[in-house]
């Protein structure tokens, strides 16, 4: 999240909004957003509706969810999808930024 915060203005410059979806409840989101001063939009999904819709994997033995990132263009099409194979398997912001057409 800190890396995303640092590069947020680059996403904004490319006409891109960031939505962060997670399984925590609204109170946890609010606390984390305040603590980290995050500029993008947080969407609590405690019933995991969207997480399931997009197929985020849960690995119980690895104690949690695996990260996933989707880039959706202005026409509503999925241009990039990355499903992490481990907790640390997250594409770099530069990789994502290079794919965005403003």
């Amino acid at each position: 999240m800190a890396q995303l915060r640092q590069d947020y203005q680059q996403f904004v410059a490319l006409n891109t909004e960031i939505l962060v979806v997670g399984p925590e409840d609204a109170a946890s989101f609010q606390q984390y957003w305040r603590q980290e001063a995050l500029p993008f939009i947080g969407l609590p999904d405690p019933h995991q509706v969207v997480l399931k819709l997009y197929g985020q994997e849960v690995k119980l033995l690895k104690l949690g969810r695996l990260p996933a990132v989707m880039l959706i263009d202005r026409s509503g099409r999925i241009r990039f999808a990355h499903y992490g194979h481990s907790m640390a398997d997250i594409p770099s912001n530069q990789e994502i930024l290079s794919l965005i057409e403003p």
Binding site: L19, V21, G55, E57, M70, R74, G76, R77, I78, Y83
Partner: protein
């Protein structure tokens, strides 16, 4: 679990934001690109 396919229409969703205001993916149609980050958990 099904995963989404590239270059296909993204399924819409609507969730309340931190302030309880509904946010839909399709709010951004024709206006902005959207990066959806599925967080692995804060803790």
């Amino acid at each position: 679990m099904a995963k989404v396919a590239l270059n296909t229409p993204a399924p819409n969703f609507t969730l309340p934001d931190l302030h309880g205001n509904p946010v839909s993916l399709f709010d951004y149609l024709d206006r902005k690109n959207v990066l959806v980050v599925f967080n692995r958990g804060f803790f």
